[in-house]
């Protein structure tokens, strides 16, 4: 009996369900914020608060990353469940659980540092102090990322590289089209934050698909 990689590379239903559920919860949250929240905290509560579309995108992606990290962390505490998630023939070992928890911490950290600039800006935190904190957290995040990279084998490394490659081509394509439209005066200019928020969201979606296709999600 042989197994074929072509037959097994379809997107799992679990990921489609997760995307669908996330979209439904996001839509419900948007409707709540748009329709019900002004009635609860007052229609003028958001006056003077400057929130760009990219803030909403970054916040959504950041929260999704933190929720995902929390879910992985909970699953990692149950060796049988973790083993089932990865399709292993036995429960996950303590070392496998530890490695997954480190990956969950990095994922949650990615979400946190994506949300913090918005939170700091809305809270009116002094620019220098806020930026110092963000640089510090970014340094910690980078160290954790390197530790994950050094602790995994070729499967996860190749999955990461595939996600990065796909994100680059999709991202540069989108950026080129927007830049051309901007140069022609058809679309408004973007900020670095706008580009970064879209890039991270794109990377999250692409890496979720790449991981699911390899049986890692």
């Amino acid at each position: 009996m042989t197994v074929s990689s072509r037959e097994s590379s379809r997107l799992p239903r679990r990921l489609l369900t997760a995307f669908g559920s996330g979209a439904a919860i996001g839509a419900a949250g948007y409707l709540f914020g748009r329709l019900a929240l002004p009635g609860l905290i007052g229609p003028d509560a958001f006056d003077g608060v400057s929130v760009r579309w990219s803030d909403a995108v970054a916040a959504l992606t950041g929260v999704a990353l933190m929720i995902g990290a929390g879910a992985v962390m909970v699953i990692s505490l149950d060796p049988r469940r973790l083993g089932r998630m990865y399709g292993l023939d036995e429960p996950a070992s303590a070392e496998e659980g530890r490695q997954v928890r480190l990956q969950a911490v990095v994922m949650g950290f990615s979400g946190l540092i994506l949300v913090l600039p918005i939170v700091f800006a809305l809270a009116g935190l002094a620019g220098g102090l806020a930026m110092g904190l963000i640089v510090l957290l970014f340094a910690v995040h980078t160290v954790l990322n390197v530790r994950v990279w050094r602790g995994v084998d070729e499967l996860l490394r190749r999955t990461t590289m595939e996600a990065a490659t796909a994100t680059f081509f999709l991202g540069q394509g989108l950026l080129f089209l927007w830049a051309a439209a901007e140069r022609l005066g058809v679309l408004p200019p973007l900020t670095a934050w706008d580009i970064y928020a879209v890039l991270m969201t794109l990377y999250l979606m692409v890496s979720a698909i790449a991981s699911a296709r390899r049986g890692l999600a």
Partner: protein, 62 residues
Amino acid sequence: MNNRLKVLRAERDWSQAHLAELLGVSRQTVNALETGRYDPSLPLAFKIARVFDQPIESIFSE
């Protein structure tokens, strides 16, 4: 690409953990190989061939 990894492992009554240890990879990688979700690098394919003492082309085929 097709592979016979699961059959070869079953014939030797090895667990995924044992094969992963012999290959120096994670059990997730062994599972991904066995379910056809991942095609190994050339060095790993050679290692698999050595572990099962078979030529690569008898384990992997197009």
